[in-house]
């Protein structure tokens, strides 16, 4: 289990207890976090679950695989901490993770 905090575009914080093995995207959808659309349902085939990973967790979360990097080309305002949340699997080390939802999705 890991506690994940999503900060939406209004600055509102959404705290979620996420199970290991689930994805950061799934937990956002299940808990109705606004701004995460996940149009393709987690197939890494769109760029609508884009988030910015908090600097403190950047190295723990790791960097995108080439396929995800390709999809990030379709996202808006991509930054060095950008990830597609469907590609981040929850594990104990991610407890306390904070992700911010971008101003708009691809």
């Amino acid at each position: 289990m890991a506690k994940i905090t999503y900060i939406d575009t209004t600055g509102t914080r959404h705290e979620v207890e996420a199970e290991n093995g689930s994805t950061v995207m799934e937990n956002a959808i299940r808990n109705g976090v606004p701004g995460i659309e996940a149009e393709c349902g987690g197939a890494c085939a769109c760029a609508t679950c884009h988030v910015y990973v908090d600097e403190a967790f950047k190295d723990i979360v790791g960097s995108p695989e080439p396929m995800e990097e390709d999809m990030l080309d379709f996202a808006f305002d991509v930054r060095p901490t950008s990830r597609l949340s469907c590609q981040i699997r929850v594990r104990d080390e991610l407890d306390g993770l904070v992700v911010t939802v971008p101003e708009r999705q691809g």
């Binding site: 197939a43 990097e69 390709d70 808006f76 305002d77 691809g106």
Partner: protein
């Protein structure tokens, strides 16, 4: 595969299937067992729909009888399964208008100029037709069709312009190479110095950059400046975060594909939030003779699974046969025991 549709031709068939995804393909099988001939239309240049376009290599775990199969693998199997019925495929074209003939048949046209005449229309269009995605740039709508284009219809429209191509895939690279000779200037803008395109195109692009004929810029478009529908500048945020104004009069953003219901929305069928309500006995729409199966339809309890679409195709076929052959008495038969079905499948 049979793809016999020269531009402007008229195809006469029993059933016109809109969408060649897994459910549209399986509908050919269920209709074929009832001696019904099918023509399939799809905007993609290959059959398979989302399975082929979005996740050809992704494993699917909930196809009955296949503990694991890839999207591409499933499409291959379906094509093999429907081969005995020899459907005609009309790919790379989008359906446009649908009307009724005096004899009660449907006339369906596509943007490639193909016309279909058929007794039944089956909409198996999934999430809709794949169309170029609008990039998430604020205010871009105001320039669409004038300065901003998502496809090149006429290369001449770009002659003498300062062209900005955005993206790093095959479309972006191909048009960089093709438009460079006639553009006044051509800039390829991409988020990073890596391209997911054919290596040969990337090599050619880099040669043009070396020769000073193409400018390669790294960054993202954050806004557009212009007036009266004409862009004058793109605001480009560089990799260092600094914004620069890039002079341009024609922009081609290539941001992949998205799915839209498209012209089907104008066919006079009742819709519910871009889905087509159907009954669960026949999967008929509000228009007699038009059925909707797979992800595009909705009914109480609907779930968007390929296997549910297969079930819908089977029931739809049992209803459609009464429209295609109104005089015929239909006896339900099993493929395991019916010699007449086995003959149609070519197994005896």
């Amino acid at each position: 595969m049979n793809d016999a549709s020269p531009i402007g031709s008229t195809i006469e068939t029993d059933v016109i299937i809109v969408g060649a995804g897994p459910v549209g393909l399986f509908a050919v099988f269920e209709l074929g067992l009832l001696d019904i001939k099918c023509a399939l239309v799809d905007i993609l240049d290959k059959p398979g729909g989302q399975c082929a376009e979005l996740y050809p290599e992704k494993p699917i775990y909930d196809i009955p009888g296949y503990p694991i199969i890839t999207g591409e693998g499933l499409v291959e199997k379906l094509l093999e399964q429907i081969k005995p019925f020899n459907p005609s495929f009309h790919l790379g074209q989008m359906v446009e208008s649908l009307s009724r003939e005096a004899d009660g048949r449907f006339r369906l046209t596509t943007d490639a100029g193909t016309t279909f005449l058929g007794k039944v229309v089956v909409i198996a269009a999934g999430g809709g037709s794949f169309q170029p995605k609008r990039p998430p740039v604020p205010g871009i709508e105001a320039y669409e069709g004038t300065s901003v284009h998502y496809a090149v219809r006429r290369m001449e429209d770009f002659r003498g312009h300062d062209v900005l191509i955005v993206g790093g895939g095959d479309s972006a690279l191909d048009w960089t190479l093709n438009l460079q000779p006639l553009a006044k200037s051509l800039t390829l803008l991409h988020r990073r110095d890596e391209f997911r395109a054919a290596p040969d195109s990337v090599r050619k692009m880099r040669e043009l950059v070396e020769a000073g004929k193409v400018k390669l810029a790294l960054g993202q478009v954050s806004g557009l400046k212009g007036e009266a529908g004409q862009v004058t500048h793109a605001v480009v945020k560089g990799t260092d975060g600094a914004e620069v104004h890039h002079e341009t009069t024609r922009i081609l953003p290539f941001f992949g594909l998205t799915m839209k219901l498209g012209p089907v929305a104008n066919w006079g069928i009742n819709l519910d939030e871009n889905l087509i309500p159907v009954d669960t006995e026949k999967f008929a729409t509000s228009e007699p003779g038009i059925f909707a199966i797979g992800d595009i339809n909705t009914y109480p309890g609907k779930i968007k699974l390929i296997l549910c679409g297969f079930h819908e195709a089977a029931l739809m076929a049992q209803a459609a046969v009464h429209i295609v052959f109104p005089e015929k008495r239909v006896v339900f038969q099993y493929t395991t025991s019916s010699s007449s079905l086995q003959k149609k499948l070519g197994v005896i």
